[in-house]
Symmetry: D2
Subunit: 354 residues, 4 copies
Amino acid sequence: MSGNTIGKIFCVTTFGESHGIALGGIIDGMPSKFPLNEEDIQKELDKRKPGKSIYTTPRKEEDKVKILSGVFNGLTTGTSIGIIIENKDYKSSDYENIKDIFRPGHADYTYYKKYGIRDYRGGGRSSARETVIRVAAGAIANKFLLEKYNIKIIAYISQIGNIICNNDIDLDFIDKNPFFITDKSKINDIDLLIRNIKKMGDSIGAKIKIIIKNMPIGIGNPVFDKLSACLAYSLMSINAVKGVEIGDGFSVINQLGSENRDEIKDNIFLSNHSGGILGGLSTGQDIIINIALKPTSSISKECNTINIHNQNKKIIIKGRHDPCVGIRAVPIAKSMIAITLMDHILINHSQCNI
Amino acid sequence: MSGNTIGKIFCVTTFGESHGIALGGIIDGMPSKFPLNEEDIQKELDKRKPGKSIYTTPRKEEDKVKILSGVFNGLTTGTSIGIIIENKDYKSSDYENIKDIFRPGHADYTYYKKYGIRDYRGGGRSSARETVIRVAAGAIANKFLLEKYNIKIIAYISQIGNIICNNDIDLDFIDKNPFFITDKSKINDIDLLIRNIKKMGDSIGAKIKIIIKNMPIGIGNPVFDKLSACLAYSLMSINAVKGVEIGDGFSVINQLGSENRDEIKDNIFLSNHSGGILGGLSTGQDIIINIALKPTSSISKECNTINIHNQNKKIIIKGRHDPCVGIRAVPIAKSMIAITLMDHILINHSQCNI
Amino acid sequence: MSGNTIGKIFCVTTFGESHGIALGGIIDGMPSKFPLNEEDIQKELDKRKPGKSIYTTPRKEEDKVKILSGVFNGLTTGTSIGIIIENKDYKSSDYENIKDIFRPGHADYTYYKKYGIRDYRGGGRSSARETVIRVAAGAIANKFLLEKYNIKIIAYISQIGNIICNNDIDLDFIDKNPFFITDKSKINDIDLLIRNIKKMGDSIGAKIKIIIKNMPIGIGNPVFDKLSACLAYSLMSINAVKGVEIGDGFSVINQLGSENRDEIKDNIFLSNHSGGILGGLSTGQDIIINIALKPTSSISKECNTINIHNQNKKIIIKGRHDPCVGIRAVPIAKSMIAITLMDHILINHSQCNI
Amino acid sequence: MSGNTIGKIFCVTTFGESHGIALGGIIDGMPSKFPLNEEDIQKELDKRKPGKSIYTTPRKEEDKVKILSGVFNGLTTGTSIGIIIENKDYKSSDYENIKDIFRPGHADYTYYKKYGIRDYRGGGRSSARETVIRVAAGAIANKFLLEKYNIKIIAYISQIGNIICNNDIDLDFIDKNPFFITDKSKINDIDLLIRNIKKMGDSIGAKIKIIIKNMPIGIGNPVFDKLSACLAYSLMSINAVKGVEIGDGFSVINQLGSENRDEIKDNIFLSNHSGGILGGLSTGQDIIINIALKPTSSISKECNTINIHNQNKKIIIKGRHDPCVGIRAVPIAKSMIAITLMDHILINHSQCNI
């Protein structure tokens, strides 16, 4: 495999399987003398942690992060930061029965066909558990962006199944409810939906909205490494993400140019159809992104599949799973945004008339 | 600037402004002994060429490509391939009046804020003209993918404004109509729409569908450099693209897991909601992608903006522009797909149990 | 910091300070289904281990490696391999007295000036201890090169101070003596020299010769990423290396072209002045490299320096140090060669007429 | 091929064969608003130009550079800079007789074995002519380093064959003599040597010394991407370079630690054995480098070789060649240094406590 590294100047490289000894990562490119401790990371991990509520997988992981290097006396030294999170509550025995079978909707089939081998325990590297290190790295980037640039990355669930939340109602509410929504009025509907889905042994998709506030102007690159392109890449690299929109996204198909272009007056933009990015560079407006997450494929409803010998099989997936994987993707999406922004902002320091 | 290179093993680097002397690129990583000549590239360029019909910008460019290196006696040598396309029909005088003014919806504002300088003639590097080299490089990748792997990349317009085409009707029709659609029955509607839009001095958005046929299984990487992530990156790097969907895309939000996961029986997938990518790797099914393109911002309707001195201005954009930039984006999208696939396929040669 | 990653397809990223909790690394790009266990790595680490003889630093480190991911049932899975080595025998108190003082010949001064902070305990990231992960990663690459390609990398001390060994006398002897030399007849001289140097509280430089046997032809790239350039890079990245020669190295200055060019007859080269690399690509002959290592700067002789307040100071460096750091660099050099070759060989799979 | 790009933030990518239509390159990452025109580049190219004196190849190339993009009204715009140099005086007919024969000491054999094809005309991509674009890119970097940081890169011939020049005698003399030496007293000896070598139909090696003045402190990276490692890489990527020394280089083998470590007093280093780099970072002292260049392999003395059918052949190389390729390597070495420094200095802007 390659492709376990993201970033050019702020580089995050990760390792680890769902049921291995530990997951970990290396954050390279962190500027020096920045205050950092394990608690800064832990509090973000706790938001993503499984087993937090009945709406997510009951797997209980402490997800205790350890910083192994790169921080001295509470400050980053400029050297690479090694982090590690040990796995505790894994039951690999749950997976013995599927070791030769490809779970539909999962990476089992493609991993096996590519590598000729796969760590089937809990999905191995393809497990959503892989994202724990993304969140840890994102916490570092996020702290830096907030403290040095006052950049705020807000992410919340804007839709689950057919329940469409009113957006941006109460941003403070996001961290106070198990669904990461801003619209208190939808709590009961979603609660009911998730309970039903769970009872059916099924799962449901979701939509996440992301808003980046206080963006400096001119972050990004004009051609291939556009800020929009790099954000799409980093978000699409999250398991289960199937769509990314910047600004008006797919709505632009039926817009007129006169409607879509954001006019400027008195030094401010009169609208934000672009989602805060023009020509691959940030405009200084809020950056607006939407992503779509597919329903968890691990459900307890029986279905058709084949095994590694190409024999037809029926499968019911046991184990502990999220009825709506989109919910726990909120802090992950936020982290990926932070990692990508951090990289672009550091690159920006080397680009303009020095 | 940085970010003018795409790819890790099959690397494409480009340069060139809309009204500069020439645009060009370097294709590095091309395997040796592959038959290649200028005509192979030229025929793809001709599809993208401006001035082909009344539906696109009347700028007339020959877009004559020259291969400067890397090919000897009709075969690639394995060395880097230099290509160049000279600019001919540019009228920079059209742009003198906007040299201090930011055209809304364009990169003028962000480039100027970032770099403190911009080549305002025709949009400089931010012009859609930049994509001519993408198409040239894509033509090389495309030929290789087709001849060595029989991979076919099909791209067509599936929607313009509110006119939704029936999909996949007649793929041979794509290259026989000026809108790159497959649905003959919509020709008149679209013709009328574009003429109206043009008369109004306005523009309209579009949607492109992409299908990749005959994909080998296992192409891609499992974590950050997922095939889906890299495709989203390369497509989002095209000017005007505001949304990318893989497979069912945003429809997954309201799908159940039991509906979305693609069951397998008799060694074939029973559906393709995933769009041919699971866990970041190709499944061997068709890869299905949709992208949204915003309406051209250069329109002749007056609007509000500011100049570099932050003074309010009214602007009417003259010059020659596409009423629907989405149409000409079809060969560009196809090229970006080809470049990205080529990179992943070459990387794949170095990954599995050797 | 950035630059903690080496390689393009076979990527090694490392972290860790001399007196931190642990050192570790991520090896990304390892082909799948290759047999690998901790013992494969451990046996190479044991060669580099400090405290092995009176000729090296008495610091006692178990250097017990743990593989945290990427291996399943004794085979690589193709996913990124996380490795970790905990620090045990560190006495940071040894270093409190030098926390504000720059040790001459060390990175103290430059790290402090660059980052505004440094982990002074044992040299932090600049310690030779950093190389333990290089050796671990190199062990993996080395095993692959040997088993899949029969490539053998031999490295030995060819000179210490003014004692010049006869080369290539007995390659089996290398691992049987504490100096990694091939020339048994020089054991006593070197033993005496090192004891004297130690008694004087001083240190001495060394030269390492490297021979790569059974190289495939055509490995490398023609322009910037020449095999020679990449080997020079990877060797010069080892602490204390101050010179690199390929083939005849500095001797070519006074050679005639008629003497230096390696003639070919009966399909074999009649000489090997080139050191097995022509035009950046391997010729299939043995690759021959020499490197020069400076004497350890940490010695117990007093010298002049300044502290962080620019005040003149006298310093005597305590702690436990190698009288000839070159000796322990032998397995490190071998590892860097293996890592670089591995990367080039994997890249080669994607380059030629496929 | 891959590997035609150097640099991470300041990236130079090149193409072109000796007898192709043109050579060219793309410089990406140049900061904006920097004054640049073709004359800035041309004057450096003129120093490298063949046919300047009887001591170098009589091939006459105008080497007229054209800037195709990235500069507007005399200032860089921050976009990628495309440059091109057309080939004029090539006589490919000279090479028809060697099209199936491998010239000893050349890349003919390795290119053919790797790629299965080679452009034999003038050595194709392996020709020293490839370096013309390095010099052009280096000229841009050099101008920036000088004007923004007052960094001066000095390179000169310090030895040809057995004639060892006294160093640093008269730096102004370098550009006033055809050998790029500083020691006027050796002019006649070298002149005589070169004439003799030429008469014999042979060639001779050379040594180049490089001094970088006014280096900022702390440029570089601590682990793999050490400044020393990156300089070694970029210099070893020049055709014919077989050895690189930083500071005392191979002399350190027989030095004591007490002699080698550079003591510090009154805020200055008392010596410069390190060559201005400690722990991979610049110390602020002069950076001192030596490189060794092998004698040209293209000489008119007959020798043994084989052809592509493995048949023994005798060969006499015609065509126009340098009796001492080291001489023309002086501006090339300077350029590679400039390109590498530029990259590291731009990266440095993103690294430290921001």
